[in-house]
Symmetry: C2
Subunit: 441 residues, 2 copies
Amino acid sequence: MSTDLIIKNALLVTCDQRHSVLEDAAILVSGNNIKWVGFSRELENHNPANTEIIDATGKILMPGLINMHSHCGDTLFRGLVENLPLEQWLQTVWKSQAVILRNAENCRLGAELGFAELLLGGTTTLMDQYWHPDQTITAALDAGIRIATGGIFFDPHGMDGYSIDHRATQAHELFARHGGNEEIFVGTMPHGTYTAGPDSIRTAVEIANQYGGFFSIHAAETKVEQQTIRDRYQTSVIRLLNDLGALSPRTTLAHCVHVDDEEIDLMAANKTNVVHNPLSNLKLASGFAPITKMMAKGINVTLGTDGAISGNDMDMWFAMRLAATIHKAANENPSAISSHETLHMATLNGARALAAEDMLGSIELNKRADFILVDITGPHAMPMFDPVSHLVFSAAKSDVSDVFISGRHIVKDRNLLTLNLSDIQNRITELQPAVKAALDE
Amino acid sequence: MSTDLIIKNALLVTCDQRHSVLEDAAILVSGNNIKWVGFSRELENHNPANTEIIDATGKILMPGLINMHSHCGDTLFRGLVENLPLEQWLQTVWKSQAVILRNAENCRLGAELGFAELLLGGTTTLMDQYWHPDQTITAALDAGIRIATGGIFFDPHGMDGYSIDHRATQAHELFARHGGNEEIFVGTMPHGTYTAGPDSIRTAVEIANQYGGFFSIHAAETKVEQQTIRDRYQTSVIRLLNDLGALSPRTTLAHCVHVDDEEIDLMAANKTNVVHNPLSNLKLASGFAPITKMMAKGINVTLGTDGAISGNDMDMWFAMRLAATIHKAANENPSAISSHETLHMATLNGARALAAEDMLGSIELNKRADFILVDITGPHAMPMFDPVSHLVFSAAKSDVSDVFISGRHIVKDRNLLTLNLSDIQNRITELQPAVKAALDE
């Protein structure tokens, strides 16, 4: 067996089904994959030539985080509009977006800034919904981040200036161009039931099914959204999606804050995945998603940061800490959600939602070598009675020292190897006045 | 005027009453105090000998954070017990504490670990409640962190092994020894109305009044606590404190999660301060403190991290982000609390609660030179349309590069100058097995 990379002397948090933790552990990587997992001492006589060896003493080795909902391009608009409810806030941000995002290059710039932030914080896989998804995919391939994205469906005049007719064409094109790449995930992504009509959603479902791709949509994020759908269609968001054939194991619904018990049962019966975005839901005053109820019904709940305009940073560690704590208070039950469940939301559950549980989400034999090293020498990491509890309740994005995706070293000693961060930042600085000015156009 | 230190080219977030922000700003420090605040260009011909000049390009200069509620010694027990409601959780943690904390040196070790964490994250002033407060004060003076602490009152058998009679003696001794030091704050700190009887609380109030010190107590943290006080005294926590003369402008009540409107009015009428500890309240499932209601009534609401056993790190940035977001969701109002209000909770409001508004909490002429530099060159800091919004919604503890307290350089380029962190960590590692074993004694 050829070995390209050895990580040894690590505290290994596998995130596998049994939540296995190994002290003084090691892994061998060959090509894209993990080829061996065991104890460092078992490596003693294993000293292959041409193999990079990384000593992970003082570090946790764990799978890369899977961020199942973001809009990376929105980093361009970070902090531009604050303190408004979702609907007014969207209408305001959209004013600037409609000017700035006509230029597909700007979408790419925003994506790159978002990728930089996410990679430095340990996210290795990202489901992103944004205008010009072709730009997002190209940028992701260059940055080395594992991307899940697809054609947007949006019936009002879109921020990219495209017409409704162009949406299906774009979705097909993305599958044609990238559907054969097993290292990324292509799907269809209508914005929401209040912004994409039944025809668009049905088309998006059909295209996803045709290519075996995923389907993702914002759903039941706010009370206003549910009321809009009741007024417009005399039904609820999740029931409408069910009627349109949009609930399936390949579907990931973003938010699901305002869902009734029957809607939860519908999602459970269809094995639909949910992505919980706690910070966005808090900041936009959307509410507390009933994720503990969903989990009790067997729904696969994953985790997301949402975009940088509802965040404002995209920090999966913060998202984990929120998911692990706000539902304890909201349910008046300190056992409402465990640290193990929370860590799975950010890793293995994401892999499951992508139908890629055999490939991602845990450190296991023959999975992709998507992993991170987390420094545990800081004062906030001591004492450590339980590494999982530490990761969920005390670790931070700044503890991530190294990131590998498909065995490729992407972040090394906190430095991003695949993107020119200062160049990105210079271009952001140049664009910033136009972003602000566009609000008043 | 002699000048010891110049900070120039900073983005200055003063945190003053008017929330003033100055670009390309500078300050001059002489001795303990800020002696001049203005624009860098005004310094052009000011080049005094023997003055250290720090170029703060790419950094926000702001007052140090004031953490109004913690138990630093509890870092020894970080993550030891998880997922229990407050009362059961306390009973479990106390088992280990009763063994470990008999040794006052262990209290000091825990305090040092906590100080290290807080200083590196930009906290310059700390109200701490813990066993052996004499150790806390000595350790704080050595570490250079500005401390507010005082004699503990706790009627059951205390973790320090002291009897009830010793409590008042200890409180007097602390004032005798440190009351004359204008750089720290001495007070009295009964644990809570359910753990300290009316006589103890009355004594604590009297001693605080006698020396002009502060008074602080846990109050109305949980529903169970309120029920206990109803059963025991046929009144509520805040009413009981009012009857005991414990509500005053020198009083800071920790938590106040479960308070009715009349209790809020009582606190407001007495100009009592409140310290909000959002993470602790979430993780222990205590609930959502009605701070927006309190603020509307004019109550001075400050911010705290609580201890590392209910945290588990002590991160004031996380506390700010929580305070700025959870009340939006809990009140279904995205304008429920502004970023300016949140930043004041972590700075100027703390100074006010300590009766030290003329000395701390903002970058203003003749205040103490307690300030921090916050790196704004990271990807999550771009673009930046509003520095205050950035500080509350995107900045992190890892962005703090430098910390000054009374003009003394405490953290330099992310390195702690006043404590031997690796020595502290070695001693924590040595003690860790005993902390765990003590749970089963």
